[in-house]
Amino acid sequence: MQERIALTGNEAMALAMKQINPDVVAAYPITPQTEIVQIFSNYVANGQVKTEFITVESEHSAMSATVGAAASGVRAMTATSSQGLALMWEVVYIAASNQLPIVMPVVNRALSGPINIHGDHSDTMGARDSGWIQIYSENTQEAYDNLIQAVRIAEHPGVLLPAMVMMDGFIISHAMENLKILSDQDVQKFIGEFKPHRPSLLDVDHPVTVGPLALYDYYMEFKRQQAAAMAGAKPVILQVAKEYAELTGRRYGLFDTYKLDDAELAIVVLSSTAGTARLVVDELREQGVKAGLLKLRVFRPFPHEELAAALGDRKAVAVLDRADSYSGFGGPLFTEVRAAMYDAKQRPPVVDYIYGLGGRDVNLDHIRKVYQDLAEIARTGAAVQTVNYLGVRE
């Protein structure tokens, strides 16, 4: 039984956390995530969850305490944004290296400097190589659904990796949307009772050592196991999505395509901008332009084979990056999509559009411009410029 209600993204994430009912949450407030922590602390104060809530003094300590709790054999969560994630950075890597199934909502926000509180993907793209599973959400419904699925994915015995679930700061976190929610019982039934899959610190009769020193004689084996766990996450993500669809009727994959099958011009995008792009696709389709869209959901593990198969027959592809990587060659999503396309049957030109940094608005005209460029690239077979900046004064 699903109830339809109107919630902001933050409310939906907090509600999902309540329904997950973790044993320990350690968190610190940061805009635009703050509401999640506030709402959750109300659940704690009113006895609506069993959670022990640690009001830490920083995000660094939030992730540290969450690691300590997870290594003790309980379900542990935290939430963050932007500078908070950056401050956690060191421990984010350690959580993954210890293969602790921590689940963390991240409300995407730009990184300093200059300081900016609005949404872009610089924060989580900075953590892309940390060994966490990364799932991006387009809207409030997806944020809610992804967080619940993330618990199952992270805790799967064949995975055991931490997972972060993203939504765009303010655009989703503070906007009210209709969504369908599950009952507490259904969520609990879906995620199941937490069972530690490794010996835990609190099993004092069977002591364990967590986080030893490993030098050149063993360090690589640890890292290799992490890589194997990440590669093994892909089928688990799909299996969990399948079971979630049976429960809710809402289907998720590694990515979502829109009118892509016969498309000649395709855009690859993450998160909330997909909604804007979909509207332009419809408009162009009415005009007879074969436009399509691929919205990436799972960025880690990166679905390179699947992307190559889905995009290989297009005539031109544009990647929209809501972060730069300062490599001199485009944003993080672009370089990975373009690398994936090396294995495509046919290799269409792939170009990059960096947009929306620091919450800069992206509108229908911007997306129209991208498709216009793609049409030109498809006609000539070559791009004038590979890396472009959308909606910036130059």
């Binding site: 044993d23 320990v24 350690a26 069993k50 959670t51 022990e52 640690i54 009001t55 830490v56 003094e57 920083s58 660094h60 300590s61 939030a62 540290s64 305490a65 969450t66 690691v67 300590g68 709790a69 997870a70 290594a71 003790s72 054999g73 309980v74 542990a76 060191e90 421990v91 350690i94 610190l201 609190l202 099993d203 004092v204 002591p207 364990v208 050592t209 967590v210 986080g211 030893p212 020193l213 490993a214 030098l215 063993y218």
Partner: protein
């Protein structure tokens, strides 16, 4: 209080076979803490540092208890998480054992980079015992000064040069800072006075709430003393009143040991290579200044403890 023979019969949670340097006093401190804990099950969290790297070189460990190392500066936060998980499981009836939580960190990981995390954990009132093994520098990385380093000590980042005579500043008074958190128990201890140290650890483990113990742990590499003389180094630090032994129990300051005769500071300084530069005619005023400050700090402490 058990005698040393009885205590030494206890295996404890820290085994021989670790790879700390010969003459290092940190493992002596850990062994004494382990003796004090007795058979109580403990979970240990260790900050990055000598003790951590030398005791858990994968696939070996010197710890007979559950042990976690997270990073350098977050030991207190990590143990907060462990202790909170324990409270959660206890509340849910999933665990019934009494478990104690002990953190070990060097002075770098405690006085400096770990201070925020330590302060946070103390303020939140987690039921943990934090033991700082204070060897007064970043020994693991090649003897750089920390805020625990004594004034005038020669370290690799506060070298005794032609213009600057070693570390310029006085050491941070961490035990007093911890006492200002109004936590149930704070103590300063030294392994030379093992009965005192063990009694303090037992008190710290018994209180309901956070406890902090600062234990002096000389380093033969950094202090440049004869490896046989580690314990003598702490004894002299106590007898010269450079390292007084005291405790702060629920806000009450108390000296736990008062030297019968306060020894001159030079007796402690002259045995250490890091103070060699002070023993020149030109630097005589520095020695006097050092002695003056030790006297001043000692008087301050006596007043706090109601002894003056």
């Amino acid at each position: 209080m058990a005698n040393l023979k009885q205590l030494s019969e206890h295996e404890g949670f820290f085994t021989p076979g670790h790879r700390m340097c010969a003459g290092c006093v940190a493992p002596v401190v850990v062994r004494q803490v382990a003796m004090a804990a007795g058979d109580t099950p403990v979970v240990v969290a260790n900050a990055t540092g000598c003790l951590e790297v030398a005791s858990t070189i994968f696939p070996y460990t010197a710890w007979r208890c559950s042990w976690i190392h997270n990073a350098f500066e977050n030991t207190s936060a990590t143990l907060s998480g462990v202790e909170t998980a324990y409270r959660s499981l206890k509340k849910q009836g999933k665990i019934d054992k009494e478990v104690k939580f002990i953190a070990f960190g060097g002075d770098g990981g405690t006085y400096d980079i770990g201070l925020q995390s330590l302060s946070g954990a103390m303020e939140r009132g987690h039921n943990i015992v934090y033991v700082c093994y204070d060897n007064g520098a970043y020994m693991n990385t090649g003897i750089q000064r920390s805020s625990a380093t004594p004034q005038f000590a020669d370290t690799t980042t506060s070298p005794a040069g032609k213009v600057i005579p070693g570390k310029v500043q006085w050491r941070k008074d961490l035990a007093a800072i911890m006492a200002a958190h109004n936590i149930p128990y704070v103590a300063q201890a030294a392994p030379s006075h093992f009965n005192d140290l063990i009694a303090k650890v037992q008190k710290a483990l018994a209180v309901d709430g956070p406890a902090f113990i600062n234990a002096m742990a000389p380093c033969p590499r950094g202090w440049r003393y004869d490896t046989r003389e580690g314990i003598e180094m702490t004894r002299l630090a106590v007898e010269t009143c450079y390292w007084p032994l005291y405790e702060v129990e629920n806000g009450e300051w108390r000296l736990t040991y008062k030297p019968r005769e306060k020894k001159p500071l030079v007796e402690w300084l002259k045995k250490q290579g890091r103070f060699r530069h002070l023993f020149t005619e030109a630097n005589k005023p520095l020695l006097e200044e050092f002695q003056r400050r030790v006297d001043q700090e000692w008087e301050k402490l006596l007043k706090r403890c109601g002894e003056a």
